[in-house]
Amino acid sequence: MKVRNWLILAAVVLLTVLPLWLASAPPAQPGADAPALFGGSDDRAQKAIGSIAPGYKPWFAPLIEPASSEIASLLFALQAAIGAGVIGYWLGGAVTRERAKRAAASPAPRPIDAVAADTRESAAGSPTRGSPAAESPAAGSPAAAGPASSATTAQEHRAG
């Protein structure tokens, strides 16, 4: 499951990085400079409109235009940051909430197991072997880990 997620992430990175090597500049239109590599496809479409309908004049201009490409990249970064911030906030909150719920739910089965461990111990008839208090963490920890880990595997299964 985890390996697959890393593979997916690697594929996304490859899909993004490989074009930087693979792409070559498009051929120059007669009488014009070669178009810049990795400009926006919107700009390229605008040029195509110019070649199909040379007489077309845009009849409306943007109300506000970013003062420079630096300002534009600032606004794009802001847009991405807002998006990533909201996703991160929710993800963090949801994970914490689920973890707290799981922690609150897991101690419940422990007393039963601890009692069972105590009975087993007294049945073996070894009252001299250590105090029950010293034994209980060892007996308790697998019991505590038990439901939590089984819950995780169940989820892994459902997710897969």
Binding site: A23, Q46, Q79, G83, G85, V86, I87, E98, Q155, R158
Partner: protein, 226 residues
């Protein structure tokens, strides 16, 4: 996929706006009803909107030598239904038109139609169709997000081809030209969007929060296994 400000003849601009308005109204109603029935999903809707905000800000290089961006509306369409993503896409496009001079107010109707209407509805349709075939959820999510993204760019190419038919070849020749710019550039980016959406839905399914459990997306495949 933004058609630039002023780059659609007035009749086309008006027509696409008129076509988009009923979908926006439908979407607002759908969101209102959804949140009334499940107020706990408010935050999750914000996450779906944030995903669209984030992805549509990422300009990625493509093999054609130009840059384009994913749309991010597929995830929300799978979580809340396609109609819910119409107002979300509208807000994203309005933000970009007003502050970034990307797209425009006159072309908003056409851009909403391609990114916020065709994209989510294709995503949702593909998801249901793949689900009917009984394939794993990650494949359904991948194809839905990927094809929804691609459909957006094919729509943009069609819109421009319709407005600017080629002198010799008419609308089809023009469509080939615009599709070569938009749709071809979009292929690797659409695949990236599909993969990213799979990652996000996997993450959501893994920790299985309360508001997620009730979603149809998370119930996908459980029926088949049971």
């Amino acid at each position: 996929m933004h058609i630039m400000e002023g780059f659609l003849p007035p009749a086309h601009a008006l027509g696409w706006a008129a076509a988009a308005v009923p979908f926006v109204a439908w979407g607002l109603r759908s969101i209102g009803r959804g949140l009334q029935a499940h107020p706990e999903r408010r935050m999750l809707l914000g996450v779906a909107a944030a995903f669209a905000f984030l992805l549509s800000a990422l300009k990625l290089p493509s093999v054609t030598g130009s840059c384009s961006h994913p749309t991010g509306v597929g995830l929300g369409a799978l979580l809340f239904g396609p109609a819910a993503m119409v107002p979300v896409g509208f807000v994203v496009l309005l933000f970009q038109a007003l502050l970034l001079a990307h797209g425009g107010l006159t072309t908003l109707g056409a851009n909403v139609f391609s990114m916020a209407i065709v994209g989510p509805f294709v995503s949702y349709g593909v998801f249901r169709a793949v689900g009917a075939l009984g394939l794993p959820r990650s494949i359904a999510v991948f194809l839905a997000a990927c094809l929804g993204d691609l459909a957006t760019y094919v729509t943009t190419s069609l819109q421009l081809a319709w407005a600017f038919p080629d002198a010799a070849g008419g609308v089809p020749a023009s469509f080939v030209k615009f599709a070569g710019i938009f749709a071809l550039t979009q292929v690797p980016i659409a695949i990236s969007e599909g993969l990213l959406t799979v990652l996000v839905t996997n993450a959501m399914a893994r920790f299985n929060a309360d508001e997620l459990r009730a979603l149809p997306l998370m119930a996908y495949g459980r029926r088949e296994r049971a």
